[in-house]
Symmetry: D2
Subunit: 358 residues, 4 copies
Amino acid sequence: MLRIGMLTSGGDCQALNAAMRGVVKTIYNNSKEDVEIFGFLAGYRGLIYSNFRMVTGKDFSGILTKGGTILGSSRTPFKTIEEPDENGLDKVEAMVHTYHKLNLDCLVVLGGNGTHKTANLLRTKGLNIVTLPKTIDNDLWGTDMTFGFQSAVDIATNVIDCIHTTADSHRRVFIVEVMGHKTGWLTLNAGMASGADIILIPEIPYDIKKIVKAIKRRQENGSGFTILAVAEGAISKEDAQLTKKEYKKKVEKRVHPTVSYELAKQIQDETGLEVRVTVPGHMQRGGSPCPYDRVFASRLGSEAGKLILKGEYGFMVGYKNREIVKVPLEEVAGKLKTVDPDATIVKEAKMLGICFGD
Amino acid sequence: MLRIGMLTSGGDCQALNAAMRGVVKTIYNNSKEDVEIFGFLAGYRGLIYSNFRMVTGKDFSGILTKGGTILGSSRTPFKTIEEPDENGLDKVEAMVHTYHKLNLDCLVVLGGNGTHKTANLLRTKGLNIVTLPKTIDNDLWGTDMTFGFQSAVDIATNVIDCIHTTADSHRRVFIVEVMGHKTGWLTLNAGMASGADIILIPEIPYDIKKIVKAIKRRQENGSGFTILAVAEGAISKEDAQLTKKEYKKKVEKRVHPTVSYELAKQIQDETGLEVRVTVPGHMQRGGSPCPYDRVFASRLGSEAGKLILKGEYGFMVGYKNREIVKVPLEEVAGKLKTVDPDATIVKEAKMLGICFGD
Amino acid sequence: MLRIGMLTSGGDCQALNAAMRGVVKTIYNNSKEDVEIFGFLAGYRGLIYSNFRMVTGKDFSGILTKGGTILGSSRTPFKTIEEPDENGLDKVEAMVHTYHKLNLDCLVVLGGNGTHKTANLLRTKGLNIVTLPKTIDNDLWGTDMTFGFQSAVDIATNVIDCIHTTADSHRRVFIVEVMGHKTGWLTLNAGMASGADIILIPEIPYDIKKIVKAIKRRQENGSGFTILAVAEGAISKEDAQLTKKEYKKKVEKRVHPTVSYELAKQIQDETGLEVRVTVPGHMQRGGSPCPYDRVFASRLGSEAGKLILKGEYGFMVGYKNREIVKVPLEEVAGKLKTVDPDATIVKEAKMLGICFGD
Amino acid sequence: MLRIGMLTSGGDCQALNAAMRGVVKTIYNNSKEDVEIFGFLAGYRGLIYSNFRMVTGKDFSGILTKGGTILGSSRTPFKTIEEPDENGLDKVEAMVHTYHKLNLDCLVVLGGNGTHKTANLLRTKGLNIVTLPKTIDNDLWGTDMTFGFQSAVDIATNVIDCIHTTADSHRRVFIVEVMGHKTGWLTLNAGMASGADIILIPEIPYDIKKIVKAIKRRQENGSGFTILAVAEGAISKEDAQLTKKEYKKKVEKRVHPTVSYELAKQIQDETGLEVRVTVPGHMQRGGSPCPYDRVFASRLGSEAGKLILKGEYGFMVGYKNREIVKVPLEEVAGKLKTVDPDATIVKEAKMLGICFGD
């Protein structure tokens, strides 16, 4: 009997169900032993409080194309994993306890950066862990690609496509604020895909003067409108000089909810042009996964299933140079994969005439 | 020789190009005289300052599916039509002057409420006017439907569809703020299409207590998440009691940029649940028109062409009881078509279990 | 106790689930009695053989956006309803028997033309019937619109949109064969929405010479390519003269599977141009319903629920002049709603320059 | 002065315009010399007959998202490149002549397999050539990916998604015939993305008995329906034994137009189940490129521009192990990149339970 736990943790994204379906189908189709799968509900919370339901192949039929996660997710334990919960319960101990109590052979964890930190911690406590790289931010160390990313690129691109027609008709400046946490992968790709004129990402702090100049040059060339794809984590050169603490303080004092609204104000003041802001927000992590992500997540899920069948634990299943690889969890945890400001893709974007404000 | 002026005015929307293509193709294919079409740029502004370009059938080839307007648009003269411009120019006089100077036979105007007010004014000055009902808000008097509306419903619905998966996974409350100006057509339709649990529209002022109650009931039933489709013009029962002036003052003092953020705060305070806001904004008026709008705008455009060929002026081409009709401009101008709180569709929505907060 | 049977019959289409959800939610939310809903599987077949499962509100949660039908469908009894089945069972009797055996208060039937004939027959046998107009063909008598239709228009339009770019690049003639059974609603709307140059529908028999002439004229004008939207039921003027029997015989002898392939051959022979055929087929009845259909089907479903709550039977819930109406079943059964060759929309299409081959 | 020729050849696909825009923008933005770009019309045909138009940055504004190619394409010279045209003109000589007559510095060629053969031939005649890998088939040697491929995957996946709902409702067997020429890349990816049960590709000849067995097993398991994604080049084990000539003869004798219809007949005969065929055909190469292709094609275009600015010729710009690389044309020409039957992705698909009929 093979007893497998499974959970999805952190902000949800597209293709979580596809990935789990991949694991479950692979195991059911190929295991010589009987299989029992415990689906923990709402992320690590389900593991802490032993809240689960038994899932079978049937639960995963027809969900390849479904967004969200049938197990639910939560961000709970990441920020406070070290602290006990409100009743004094040691969370890590509780998770280890659930695992042993249910006599699990292993635990499959789908998540992003925070999730992997906790997964690695559980590994050090002796749990058999296999993880899958889930995030629309594509900022996970150890893999070239995460699932959810391409689906989010598709949505953000579609938003900017829509904005394009109205920007053109009204000769306005438009800012579309794109997700991506502290990295610029999503903004860079959606911006290039939609023909944005200016792309601002956290890895390349911007100089407002350069932005204003680029907008004015477009006005003079008769283009009339300008589209900015701005990462939610975009930062000015000055702010990038601040300490983390100083910056946090500054952000808290901000009148406008996000960097985009601040930028809009600055550009309006400097150019006299009407500036509009669109914040698609959480829709970027919702909806049906794109075909790329469905194939990719299914493949990763299948490989996770293979690892379990072979009893190889302590790995994230990742993607490197077009090969599916297993990456030791201790290498993944706590690191961030950011956009190299000198990367080829950035240079190409610049040659295409895109302004990064640097 | 038939000399036709054409302009698109007000906030742009989908199918403007499709509608103009309909007019132009119909006239070119069916006129016995030679035809010249003057496309005024950036709405009435082009008419005021005699800024135009000659357009032919070729300009309208391949644009049936294109969002925006190839003539550009602006909101300029509406708010200040009575006042002279910054150089002391009487705008109405200037428009009449351009019309006569170019020896036009008629002027085709595509626009919404504000646009129709000005169009009617020009009619009283002796200009031959034919108008087409363009707005995503569907709030134009004299027609059951405006083009742009169904396309905007499609986009707003897609946004809520995406939010649905993430709301479900995280058991959160989500507010999606939908456009529609002072009417609830767009929110009502997108909300019903996407299975929103609560729909708030300007025509049905809401009681925050009813909303909180509905959310709590869903929690108790185990649904866990709640989706609110909130019109940008939604208003509470108390605020609906205020005079226009008092309400305007109150809105100006608002810390949060829109009603959705205020609501989010109130719900969070009352329920303790996480509430997230998504504001798709201008994307709702962008992108390729949906097939419904393409057919509808082409038909209206064709009928406008027919009116011109017959020399019948002073009408908006509208849609009533599945018939295309001509509506005298004086009947359209200055009125608003709102959602009747007792309409059948509202009653049906309520029977389906949708809460309107009343 | 209210005991309701429900079934979906005939070729499936989008928004069947949305419509059933509308019925069920309305009844559960508003019935003062307890409710039991029997979902018969695979259309009338389920009623004949008493094959059903109990469904509740839960079964209809989250299926507003799902294509297909959770009850399954079949075309079984329509063609042979009068004949006994292979075991000598009288089907009509069997259905009446199941109805009484389960002590049903009424039966909700979702279907198209064939389905309504049977539904009316059951009505004459004393069963309480309420029906909903389902078909992508929009050919049901007694209602201006059927659900599924607009979704199919969207898909067929998207197909032609895709073909447009390749037709333009290669200067080819393309035929897209659109569904619609014996009527041209779907082809007419998808053709107009996608800017097809030639539209062929059963209601307007075509003259191949006129088609060839239109294609040649486009070649001369430098357009280079031509797109034909051809209804699966399109027919030539000569064939339209044949008796039904003669025509059937002729079709059976056809080398090419459909009218499109025949047309392609003729056009290629007459013009020397490369002609390609695309047959999207059943994809036109699949996938998620469009927002229009979701709202429309929900509304119809809700009204069907209301009729049941009031105990009014023997009606199809239809849509007439923007009002939801109840249409006596005997008026619906056995009739076809076709495109009037002199309808306004056809005239408009012709003024836009579209060739119908007549 | 930099004088650049450009042409698109072979079957068109998505992102051709995006790629050309990448080349042109990069050169205009970064060249120190003046630039003139000659756009040859309808592929090599334009080069043979010196049929071109001058293109500038403006021609490429707003076409990032547009399908097709603004230069037109044709398949002309590939099959008969060696033979003179109908007037006795030596085509290769004519192309060389045009190149020199216009005093070109280089020629940018966008195309697939056939196109590259000719491009390499022109290289051996002393022309400066840079090529870009365009094909929905992804079968070009020397690059991991071609643009157009992911867009075609998206479309084919969407077709199968639509079919899924109707297959499920009616418990039928559905065959969707996917493009891909002689390789299975497109079918494999679209099949995995859409959850097809059986995937048949040319690289893995099928045994009809295995297919029938898989369908019957699904029936027994209660799944009821089966979806087959079948490559247009799929081949049975027996046919794979034939010589090329024998196979060609056999295909010519086929009653049914494609392998899918043959398969449908066989399956129907063996299982008694209703089998339906859908052939989306050319729509797979049309419509707006997906965001992935837009970024990818822009990047390749930009790198081609860089090569030209540096005067490096004789290369295809390709993609290898996530790096953009230059591949000598002589290595690319005349080779085919096929799916390795033992590739990891195939193994993963099999572990997921997908039947390949082998």
